[in-house]
Assembly symmetry: C2
Homo-oligomer: 155 residues x 2
């Protein structure tokens, strides 16, 4: 992931190849969409369009940030191709399901603890709190786990 | 979230207002970006451009799907405004951190169980598996938790 210009020589970048134009030295998309990334370029082209894409990448000041922006924009575009309604929000929903599943397991797996400690999910905002996990000892609220430190102290 | 046309009458929709044009009856963005959604429209306009936006919304066949596409596209655009490098992938990263945190708590909170059951995180693919959580009894692997059914049987 260096800052070298990958095209401008023999092979046109995916952007120029797709648009059937000569890939000039200094082509602003060649670094992010070399010729082998045609599939990725087609996806971002369809979702953002070339001029928006170039603008969104150039909005970042370092070469590393621009590369990373190209990667995350490609990820968004590929999700939108797969799911035209939810796009990459689908991945968020899948992760939210996994969090819900882990909270349910967590709430159950502490039932058998011999020391009386129990972890209870309150992701629906029970107790007027914003959501998360609470630790009870003998059914009385002990401490909120916001990070591992409180839990580590207890264990 | 009905299918009624919200503009074409007195007030121009956010898209037409932003582009300083008359909002004609049948304006294809008026349903999704009424006049009060100017902030949201500016974000999607900046990230996708108007013609791409309209194309991405129209790619869906039902009015409900088109509305939902407008919502998820707005969510993507607002994240890209906040974070030009990661965009909405930032939210994925935050959820992945929460999953990691829950797995760590889960692995620890089962240490005190009197029945010998223990939950171990193997999200790094230990045991040649794809990642997830494993239940051990007296340090021997018992069952994979892929959903709650196996766990429910055990508990």
């Amino acid at each position: 992931m260096g800052a070298q210009q990958v095209s401008g020589g023999g092979g046109a970048c995916a952007a120029c190849k797709h648009q059937r134009r000569k890939c000039e030295k200094g082509c602003e998309l060649a670094n992010y969409f070399p010729s082998e990334k045609m599939k990725e370029f087609k996806a971002v082209h369809k979702v953002f369009g070339v001029s928006n894409l170039a603008k969104l990448i150039k909005a970042n000041s370092t070469e590393q940030a621009r590369h990373r922006a190209a990667v995350t924009l490609t990820w968004e575009a590929e999700w939108r191709e797969k799911d035209p309604v939810e796009g990459c929000y689908k991945e968020v929903q899948m992760l939210q399901c996994e969090i819900q599943r882990l909270r349910e397991i967590l709430a159950r797996c502490t039932c058998g603890r011999s020391d009386g400690y129990r972890v209870v999910d309150y992701s629906n905002g029970y107790w007027g709190l914003g959501g998360g996990v609470v630790i009870l000892k003998n059914n009385e609220q002990q401490v909120l786990v916001n990070g591992m430190s409180a839990w580590n102290q207890m264990m």
